[in-house]
């Protein structure tokens, strides 16, 4: 399961590219129908190799922002500048969405097939990713025949197989039990750190946000939600999900985030700005 960590790390390219963000969002306003905007004037950017978390109250518009980034939701105002091709962005959804009529292997191969790879080549590569994620031997199964955790791993393999440079994740592991969640998250972290992949993660879990990210964005309460704060996480990499809790910066940051989030949920006043 830890095989992911053995991937050679092309980290050296990350700092050089960090100057130009992979995505830069400016003044983004999003809404549904004629209702008042869900989010308003949102600015955010993710640089190469950077892990950014987006936290905020439920219903504030975090999923909507992610969906807008990949073109699933048209913006009302603002710009989304992206230096990546569509296939370089991987998206892990809140709920898993495997095609029920495709086998596990075909599901993992799907992105590669859509990128123009031959069936045989795509499925051979899919098998490699399945092995790496500890799903070897399950390739012939239907998604229905997997456990929830296995399905999440397949969804992860599906996205990893595309070798994205930016990974958008919408609470992908929220439905998993604590043990499995930590395990999969650690595997993901090792892979992302090793390959220098940039991440924008939406999560409810403040501790997870601190443990994983370089920077945390706090989205305020909707409607018309705005980014209320930006918090740098001064913890070195590579990180271990358990050991990271013992870092001296961890507890104070968590305290601040909680206070600001609680103030935001209560709707009283503005929290402090950036760290």
């Amino acid at each position: 399961m830890t095989a992911l960590a053995t991937v050679p790390a092309p980290m050296s390219t990350a700092p050089a590219a960090a100057a130009t963000p992979l995505v830069r969002v400016a003044g983004l306003t999003l809404g549904y129908g004629a209702a008042p905007p869900v989010v308003e004037a949102v600015d955010l950017s993710v640089a190469a190799g950077e892990l950014v978390s987006l936290v905020g109250p439920s219903g504030s518009g975090k999923s909507t922002i992610l969906r807008a980034l990949v073109g699933l939701h048209p913006p009302r105002a603002g710009t989304i500048a992206c230096t990546l091709a569509g296939c370089e962005i991987g998206f892990l959804f809140q709920e898993d969405a495997l095609l029920p009529w495709r086998t596990v292997r075909q599901n993992v191969a799907l992105g590669l097939r859509l990128a123009g790879r031959s069936r045989a080549a795509a499925e051979a590569e899919a098998e490699v990713w399945l092995e790496r994620l500890g799903l070897g031997g399950l390739g012939e199964r239907w998604p229905r025949q997997l456990s929830g955790g296995q399905r999440k791993r397949v969804a992860l393999a599906q996205v990893m197989a595309l070798r994205p440079r930016l990974l958008l994740m919408d609470e992908p592991f929220a439905a998993l039990d604590a043990i499995l969640r930590r395990q999969i998250t650690q595997e993901l972290l090792d892979w992302v750190e090793g390959e220098g992949i940039a991440v924008l993660l939406v999560t409810h879990d403040l501790e997870e946000a601190i443990a994983l990210s370089d920077r945390i964005l706090l989205l305020g309460r909707g409607p018309r939600a705005r980014i209320r704060g930006t918090y740098e996480v001064p913890i070195p990499r590579p990180r271990d999900l358990v050991a990271v809790h013992a870092h001296p910066a961890f507890a104070p940051l968590l305290q601040r985030l909680w206070t600001d989030l609680a103030a935001e949920v209560a709707g009283s006043g503005l929290p402090r700005a950036a760290a």
């Binding site: 699933l72 959804f93 495997l98 095609l99 009529w101 859509l114 595309l162």
Partner: protein, 249 residues
Amino acid sequence: MRGPALRRLLAGFLLMALWEVAVARGWLDPFYLPPPSRIAVTLGELFARPVFYEHLLATFTAAIAGLGLGLLIGAVLGLLAALVRPVAELLEPVMVLLNAIPRVILAPLFVIWFGIGLGSKVALAVVLVAVLVFFAVHAGVRDVDPRLVERVVTLGGGRWAVVREVYLPSVTAWVMGNLRVAVGFAFTGAVVGEFVASSRGLGYLLSFAQSTYNAAQVVALVLLVAAVVLLLFALAGALERRLLRWRHG
């Protein structure tokens, strides 16, 4: 599996034996209900006459042609209605009406339009099947999970990829779920069409047997149609299990 099947066979034999005895004893009038032995002999006579195979083939041809055309027309119209708003507004009232009425009452009209030959039988089978398939396709398109569409799009798929990977499988599942009913409908259309006006086919034989009060032949033909439909049911079921194996097993 073996136990119940064996018991059912045994029960069938018992019932037929009882039936045979009841007629032999005079409790049942063979004019209305001929004994199994008579029906078996009639069936044997039917199969012994070469012309019978022409009748069988005629019904089979009408039903299969009706099934194929009905599936095609229903699927195309259903997809069009699901994808093109004006087509839906035009077609839906017609389909709802056709779905509400017993469609076999159109048989006389089809005889006037297409003559007493194969055409009117196929037309009736087509109307029966196509309306069923239209609604199945419609349901299949409506039933498509938007999250799957987004999954394919975010993996880099275009319009055609979405249709191929999401819409077609979803629609296929719905149509397959209705395939057995469609087979039954196709035979209903063919036989009823022949019954109304024709010069061949099992329906024609039925109507002839009826006009001569030949109850043995009527029962024999009914059993024959049932056997043919059951055989096709089994084939349709096998096809369904094969195409929808992601759902079963």
